[in-house]
Amino acid sequence: MSKPKLAYYLAGGCGGCDIAVVDLSETLVDVALAVDIVFWAPTVADAKYKDLEAMPDGSIDVGLITGNVRNSEHDHIVKVMRKKCKVLIAYGICATSGGIKSLVNLYTTEQLLDKAYVDTMSTDNPDKVIPQTSCIVDSKYDLTLPALFDAKPLDQVVSVDYYIGGCPPHYDHVKTAFTALLTGQLPPPGSWITSGKALCEVCGRNPVLTGKPKKFTTTIKRTFEGTPTEGACLLEEGYLCLGPITQGDCGVKCPNANMPCRGCGGPIPGVKDFGTRAISAIASMLEKEELVDEIPDPVHLFYRYTLAGSALGKKLNR
């Protein structure tokens, strides 16, 4: 039997998810031997878009896409990937829900370009030159750049078969996912590849797991204020941890290092809109309603990784 073919595309991402694959270390050797990597752009394999476009439709067994869809180039290649791949996986929180980079949806493209190329104090750009989608150099070379638009999660552009959360996914989880892929033990299409457990269910700080009662949150603290008590639930201590609604496939790395969960793992099964459900969960844990007004900047806290995938998806009246 021939080896399954794998394609991998990094759209509007940072490459961190690629590093998570490399972090498989020895397992990566097994994975690399078990599959035939036909396309991995732009980070690992030397492949061109035209090579991918030339492949027959449905000829690739598994396609992984990381990063959100942020410009016309991503949009085009993602659609090509969908045609060529039998199974398409949104890999990492940017592809599944928009990611931290989808916070760009709080601003218009014009505002962002202005900020980056004109407004900042350290920028020297008296002619206010900003990137254009096409420009002619030396009156003969026609150069083009992709057009920017609002960040979108992958499933707003093409249909997605499986989702893997995380920023980036923990390598143990990647290992589990790859093993499931290679052995064909996959959940029904459209689902997340996850243990299905919330972070709290696997967190050593959760008092419920040791038979103690769960207490209300009585104060609101920012992460730089004080140090949490060793082994105590961060929510009880006043640090707004999003563990109750986040998938716990990450090995509880952040709470173990005294940092509250920010929800990069993606929503637990059954939750469509992470930010809104996070608002619901956290608000219910507050002791009194006055604490609601003490929470700083709810949009950046609750929609940090999922703004593009949320119900509103962007800021209105920007």
């Binding site: 929609y303 119900a311 962007k314």
Partner: protein, 140 residues
């Protein structure tokens, strides 16, 4: 094209606000036809997702009605409601939605008149704000 008419979703708790709406009808108080009531067991059942989903689907205003404090049939439902609602509202306002487009009010089963008045005031406010900025109004 027909003139824009607001479409307002009222999520009413079964034990108080819905009874208030019922009483408003029995007492022949009139309120605007733009009001569409959804009955839920308790205002504590109203997940923030219900509100965002209504707005996403084009509702021009969302009104949540529950029992006064101490009156909740399930004892503490409305105490959760106000925390969730206020936090969601802060996020929605930060996301550019008008402050007045979503509203929470306690209306008891005996306050039929208050129900009719609240609906009239809310409808007038939504007409003043204009169509939902997401879809340009439910009729479009």
């Amino acid at each position: 094209m027909a003139e824009w008419e607001p479409r307002i979703i009222v999520i009413a708790c079964h034990w108080c606000t819905y009874q208030g709406a019922d009483l408003a009808g029995s007492l022949r108080y009139s309120y605007p036809p733009s009001i569409h009531i959804v009955r839920v067991p308790c205002s504590g059942r109203v997940e923030p997702e219900f509100i965002t989903e209504a707005i996403k689907s084009g509702a021009d205003g969302v009104f949540v009605g529950g029992c006064h404090f101490g009156d909740c049939h399930y004892r503490s439902g409305n105490y959760n409601t106000i925390k969730r609602f206020n936090l969601l509202k802060r996020a929605l306002v930060d996301l550019g939605l008008e402050d007045e487009r979503v509203k929470l009010e306690w209306i008891s089963g005996s306050e039929g008149k208050k129900f009719a008045e609240e609906m009239t005031v809310f409808d007038a406010k939504i007409r003043e704000l204009g169509p939902n900025p997401i879809k340009g109004g439910a009729n479009v």
